[in-house]
């Protein structure tokens, strides 16, 4: 059964060759193959989750080499669920809203999926770097596939900042190797304890790794690439990146902090914990403030991620079971909600030519179902019950109060109001301003109704998922519990 693990990474990598080679000559067939690969990925991921559910965590070393030198993969409750999330999101977005099917870019789509899947299942900090770069390069290229100088500039910005982030991460891995002589996550934990948590090597390694991943999750003040890239990319690419681009590095930050450095490191070095919590709080407050100031909807949604990932980092910094659970739930909550909202933003752009909040005026009347789903998505970002965003905030507030950190508790609760300030603005516009009397405006020569219907379906799916995950948040927390309790 554990052979599924290498396959889930290999399938999209190998599959990427098909649209790359045949995409130009047989566009339709290669599109079908790409879709099949992505659906196969969903099947593999589902099988992995089922295996973990019945038989527990699965480890695998490629080529049967000794674990210390081979390429190690690990599927536990946590990574398997993220693999499934990646597969479902990538496949759903591909079959519903993918617009550009010109061969090579489909290959990029698959490579991105391979990269983020690799990040989720790898058991080796160096391989994690490799997968980070695969996903990153594919993402930069995907942003650049849109014609025009704006996308090119945004992609360049994204490339430069993203590469710097990945390089920081690689440097951190180098320090780890110098300190311990191993790159296996499972060995690094005890080895680092032997080296001593006070060692400058270990501290620097953590600082570099956290900094590198903070770029990827776009924590303030390392966030500037995100609004540019997500606003300039094609709508389907933006939706894919918004769903997975920062979600998986967020997972990686949790995994590395607690699996490699362990909670003992955080306990021993109080300044690290304080720095994480402070960085998170700053990101929440400033991110919220910046979000409120946006008028372009896609930029607004990107800035809202700065706030959301601030909460995630706060959860990591608090390092209690409830806090880590909160961090994981919030990562997923943001991914699901943003995916649906970016698809909706894309649809509003193409169908009504609406890019800014004020251009959304009265559009609920044109597309009531879409507006309803958008409202649910924002409800989750704000963190109102019964959505999954609420569950995440609840766990985080409980965690903060359990350790008696009242400032954190207050900021977490008040972040609800910050989010409300921007969410209410959009929802109010959608529903209340009088609609333009001349009906829908076709921005680029009309809209294929099938595609528009599918886009609405994705948004509704995301909305249903936020509520279902909210109602099932206890089950979700229990599913994570074996891993989380093993850590803290």
């Amino acid at each position: 059964m554990s052979h599924l693990l290498p396959l889930v990474v290999a399938l999209p990598v190998l599959g990427a060759a098909i649209p790359f080679v045949f995409g130009r000559r047989f566009p339709t067939s290669s599109r079908r193959v790409t879709a099949l690969v992505l659906l196969g990925q969903v099947g593999l991921a589902g099988a992995i989750v089922a295996t973990v559910a019945t038989a527990g965590a699965q480890a695998y070393v490629v080529g049967g080499l000794p674990a210390t030198v081979g390429i190690g993969l690990l599927a536990d409750e946590l990574s398997s669920l993220f693999v499934l999330f990646i597969a479902v999101a990538a496949a759903t977005l591909y079959v519903t809203v993918r617009t550009d099917a010109s061969g090579p870019t489909d290959a990029l789509w698959l490579l991105f999926v391979a990269g983020v899947t690799g990040i989720a299942v790898t058991a080796d900090v160096f391989n994690l770097y490799v997968f980070l770069e695969i996903a990153g390069l594919a993402a930069y290229a995907l942003v650049a596939t849109r014609r025009g100088p704006r996308a090119a500039l945004a992609a360049l910005h994204y490339l430069l900042v993203g590469t710097v982030g990945a390089t920081f991460y690689l440097l951190g891995v180098g320090y780890l190797y110098v300190a311990t002589g191993t790159l296996r996550m499972a060995d690094l934990g005890p080895e680092l304890a032997n080296v001593g948590y006070g060692s400058p090597l270990v501290l620097t390694a953590f600082a570099l790794i956290a900094l590198g991943l903070s770029v990827k999750i776009a924590l303030f003040p390392l966030h500037a690439w995100k609004p540019d890239a997500y606003a300039a990319a094609e709508t389907d690419v933006a939706a894919l990146l918004a769903t997975l681009g920062s979600t998986v590095p967020g997972y990686a930050l949790v995994r590395l902090t607690f699996d490699v450095f362990t909670v003992d490191f955080l306990d021993a070095v109080a300044i690290v914990q304080g720095a994480l919590v402070t960085a998170g709080l700053v990101s929440v407050v400033v991110g919220g403030y910046l979000t409120i100031r946006q008028s372009n909807v896609r930029r607004l949604l990107s800035y809202s991620s700065v706030l959301q990932f601030g909460l995630v980092v706060v959860g990591i910094g608090l390092a209690t079971p409830a806090a880590v659970t909160a961090a994981l739930i919030l990562v997923l909550a943001n991914g699901v909600a943003k995916g649906g909202l970016f698809v909706a933003a894309g649809l509003y752009e193409r169908e009504f030519g609406a890019y800014t909040v004020s251009e959304y005026a009265g559009l609920a009347r044109e597309r009531p179902v879409l507006a309803g789903a958008v409202t649910v998505g924002f409800t989750s970002l704000v963190g109102l019950p019964p959505t999954v965003g609420f569950a995440g905030k609840w766990y985080l507030a409980v965690a903060a109060m359990e350790v008696g950190d009242w400032v954190v508790a207050a900021v977490v609760l008040l972040s609800t109001l910050l989010s409300l300030a921007y969410a209410a603005r959009i929802v109010e516009r959608l529903y209340l301003s009088s609609a333009p009397s001349d009906g829908p405006v076709a921005a680029d020569g009309g809209m294929d109704t099938h595609r528009s219907r599918r886009a609405v379906a994705v948004t509704v799916l995301a909305a249903v998922a936020t509520i279902a995950l909210g109602l099932g948040s206890t089950a979700l927390a229990e599913w994570f519990a074996p891993v989380v309790e093993g850590w803290v």
Binding site: L384, V398, L413, L432, L471
Partner: protein, 515 residues
Amino acid sequence: MTDTSSFLPVLSVLLPTVAIPFIYATREKPNIRETVTLLAAIGTLAAVWSMTRLPVPPVTSLGSIAGIAFELRVDAAGLLFALLASALWLVTSVYSVGYVRTVGESGQTRYFAAFAASIAATMGVAFAANLFTLIVFYELLTLATYPLVVHSGTAEARAAGRTYVAYTLGGGVVALGGIVLVSVLAGTVTFTAGGIAGLATADPTLARAAFALLVVGFGVKTALMPLHGWLPAAMVAPTPVSGLLHAVAVVKSGVFALGRTVLYVFGPETTWDLGVGLPLAVAAAATMVLAGVVGLRQDNLKRGLAYSTVSQLSYIALGIALATPLAVFGALLHVVAHAFMKITLFFAAGVIYAETGQKYVSEMGGIGRRLPVTMTAFAVAAAGLVGFPLVAGFVSKFTLIVGAADGPSPVFVAAYLVAGLLKLLYFWPIIYVAFAGERDSDGPESRHAFAPPHATDGGHARETGWTRRSLRTEATPFLLAPVLVTVGGAVALGIAPTVFPVWELAETVVVEVFR
């Protein structure tokens, strides 16, 4: 039997929810759409009513969110509130049909759908088994009522909607902080008659902080001053919304949550042991009197009624805060009594607006001739709020005052009496103007006694007098019948309060809380 009866509380939440898609599906045929609303209202009332008759298992679990049980539980306090809200929903539905058609409101489908959603959330608040479940439905109630506040879509309505959401969700966040703190301190948030044991032994400073957070949070919907600003602003909503939601469902959810906090989370003893009962009582007494004074100056009828609601809610909040058995009993009775009287007043204000377009007291000189039944009902309900015998308000206020006499200070008795006097000063000029005034006359009998005259648009043709209408032609029966039903209810509650199930339910609450 167990299976069906354990489904009843769920059914009371589900029926209005399920009605929403049907309301949308039948939007092309208003008659069928309104039938759906009425059927859902009858069904909900029947479900709640049957729960007062049948032995219902105490807890119905709906799963769990974020590790906390999401449960509904049927107890006396919840039944009292649910019965009140579902009964008045039925009446208001009939009234709404008459109102939106007479006024010609736009967006009627959204109106009825949001109304049903609000009731579903209210049922959830009533039957919530713990603070967590309560806050979930409490927030949903805010979301469901928002479209009703901004219904007209004007700039004024949108501004009011923003105020409304900022106040109520802000309060929700503060209350959520209190709930998290209670959960951390006591390890549970499940309602326990007489208080959760773990809180009595918890760190008193933190317990006080939790109480303060909960009271401030729930105080927003209870409209405790200075957290009341949203309520007069929300009066831009259509009148049935003001009547059912902003005099019954929303504000009573606030006061109900406050009651749950004092009686079922902290318990009367712990509340006073911690020394947090007195500040709450003082705030409620101050609100009662201040809102009475501010209300005097309102020429806009609905705004005046809103301030009266602010004041009346604090009657209930004060009764809860004093936490003597009689005061609590009176507070519970007043929840019901105030609901029937205030909804009558709002219905009357709605009939005035729908039939004549008037919103200001100073333009209602002699309107009693045009709307004899409506204004008589108004006068009866107003008398009840002032505290005249034989109307519901007398019974509950009498109990409250006797209960307050057992309290820590006679000042609270005096506060009830002063507030009653202010009510008289507020309502008397309105009734006097309506029956003794003349239309468009500037004589003292036609002006509001205390309020400064509002700015008029000027230049409209002067009309002379109201046409006298017979009892049968003053308004459509859809508008008139609900007014008669609610005022009849208020009088019946005043004459024979013990025959209604609310009396027994309130007794049960007092017995279980003060065991």
